[in-house]
Symmetry: C2
């Protein structure tokens, strides 16, 4: 917690331009965190990730605690050294992945017992164990263990789930504060799509007190409208002077809308996962590089992009690489997508600084939307 | 052919230190050419390949003519532009891959008819068509179509095969000279392990006249001793003032021995293929990164190597990446292996310049051999 801080430099409506300060470096907000699930932002060298403008990456405690193991990471000098990333790292609690194991896990007040997807070995994840694992990993921003309430949930289901998450949040805070000081701790607002549960959750977290607050349980199938409603129901009850993080969000339009509602931090596997699936994000919408129409297209993925994939390679080449199942195809599209997301965030930050976020958002969404409509009209499957 | 030349700067025994000059840049010899089978040195950005010290890459006409197609590559501005490699590119004739299709191909005086391994479509590859394809690709060093004589072969089989290759070499020369001037043309000595066939082949090629001469039919299962014998049988009959290229060679010890016999150029898929298979070449022998003994080893792949994989990452991390099936694992080991091969070549060049190649070779082979013996004694499967 030492040296962790958040400064707001400018506002535009509910949106904030800020800096999260950590001992390992500053994070310009609104920020997008590329996801390095297993201690690597998939297919990319960390220098390349850094060069896109990313100030922080996220890694997944569930994956790392199973392989190579949190204790092993600690013995090896921590994740930063291991993966050659000197900037801040945020780790999740491991809860989201464990909960998604379905029949392989069992929830109790104590925590969640589960079997590894790798070797079937039995494990118990508790709030305390998650904190310890994140500490061993060397996380700069530690997340409390919570239950990401499945969607849809009834009010009663959501209330019971949220209450458990709040008890775990309290235990996480205690465990974090009792250990050697390392990393900031973020609480997570739950409550599904129910506004008064979101409010109750936020208020209970504030009573505990965290260095930052996440809105959790988003991007789980509820759709953008309900996602924004859940954010709107949470934000007014969160302290202004702490960073706010929308976990697992999301598509470019999700991010723009969430920033306009007061969110400061994001993460999502989309840029890298799409990159490995030959889908590029561009200023004119998404492009499927498996489409044969790109076979002789000498234009770049996105003519407005300055990333190495766009400045040195054509769609025709990337189409060839993908058809030929060459690793470089996944590398180039992933690199571009991570750049696209960072460019989106720097565009958002510049717009907030200049008080023109509404205009920026309208232009971005129109460009993305127009393209989608045009494709629909043309019957094109891009 | 314009601007193509070869200069010898120093000699050490039969070994030569030289420069091959091409319109797209100079190649320091002895040279190792990383293989970019499908228009990409697998898993690596071309800037990274260049940074290892590689002056030239090789690409495979068989693969490129099927996908994306030689005509398409021409329409897209040539392979250099497509793959973002501005230095020289050597292309093989396509023959080696076609011959290895076994029951999918049929040999005749005219050429070889075959079915694509991708879609089963029927094709005919002739000396003239190979030259045309390599011209369309934009090759700087074009290889004649030949039959890579299978090993083992009887004397009669080898003689018949070599004679066909020589007739094809003549047709290749004529086709190359009749087209618009582009690229140097190399002939290929065949004759299997039979010294007088190798001599006859070399003499017939010299009668035709080429900008460089390859020794073909090597590294096809004959073993290092017979490989060296085949080289020894060819070299004395080749002109001193032309570069000599041992196709598909090879292991580090193969390269050292071949340089000492007068070979100037090499190519092999080993550094990249091994890279994708978690096998690293090091100054102490090969290392299998799947071996659990590396799980907590903070040392680099090769402590004497200056490549990014060695300066920024530990064996422990690379072991983790490989166990987790992360693309970056293949990237890092491939990058290191390509660097290892380039370091080997620069070490060889420095040794020739200083007249201490014999000593260099003895030290290198001792280090590689000693390591292998130690492992054997320890019963270790590395």
């Amino acid at each position: 917690m030492t040296e962790f801080g958040f400064t707001i430099h400018a506002r535009d409506g509910a949106a904030r331009l800020g800096t999260v300060k950590t001992p390992r470096g500053e994070i310009r907000t609104p920020a997008f965190m590329p996801v390095g699930t297993q201690g690597t932002v998939k297919a990319l060298m960390p220098e390349a990730v850094k060069a896109t403008g990313a100030d922080i990456v996220l890694s997944n405690t569930y994956h790392l605690m199973l392989r190579p193991g949190a204790e092993r990471i600690d013995r090896l000098g921590g994740l930063h050294r291991l993966m050659n990333w000197s900037g801040p790292i945020l780790t999740d609690s491991g809860g989201f992945q464990v909960m998604s194991l379905a029949h392989l896990r069992k929830l109790s007040e104590e925590g969640v017992s589960f079997r590894s997807h790798i070797d079937g070995s039995a494990h118990l994840l508790t709030p305390e164990k998650s904190i310890e694992a994140q500490r061993l990993i060397g996380s700069d921003i530690v997340m409390v263990l919570d239950e990401c309430t499945p969607y849809p949930a009834t009010y009663d289901q959501a209330a019971i789930s949220m209450a458990l998450s709040m008890r775990w949040a309290k235990r996480s805070r205690i465990a974090h504060d009792n250990g050697p000081p390392r990393g900031a701790l973020f609480g997570i607002v739950q409550g599904s799509v129910f506004a008064d549960l979101r409010r109750q959750s936020a208020e209970q977290l504030i009573d505990i007190g965290f260095e930052g607050y996440a809105v959790g349980g988003l991007a789980v199938g509820e759709g953008q409208e309900l996602m924004f409603e859940a954010i709107d129901a949470s934000i007014p009850h969160l302290p202004d002077n702490r960073p706010r993080y929308a976990m697992g969000v999301g598509m470019p339009s999700d991010i723009i809308g969430a920033v306009m509602r007061g969110i400061d931090m994001f993460d999502c596997v989309l840029p890298t996962r799409s990159g490995r699936r030959a889908k590029a994000f561009t200023r004119q919408g998404t492009v499927n590089l498996r489409n044969a129409k790109h076979a002789e297209d000498l234009s770049p993925l996105d003519s407005a992009c300055s990333c190495p994939a766009c400045t040195s390679y054509s769609r025709a080449y990337i189409y060839h690489l993908i058809k030929a199942q060459e690793i470089l195809g996944a590398v180039l599209v992933s690199l571009h997508n991570v750049q696209y997301y960072q460019d989106l965030m720097s565009g958002i930050r510049a717009a907030i600084a200049e008080g023109r976020l509404t205009q920026f958002a309208a232009e971005m969404l129109a460009a993305l939307g127009k393209s989608a409509k045009e494709k629909l009209a043309a019957g094109a499957v891009d």
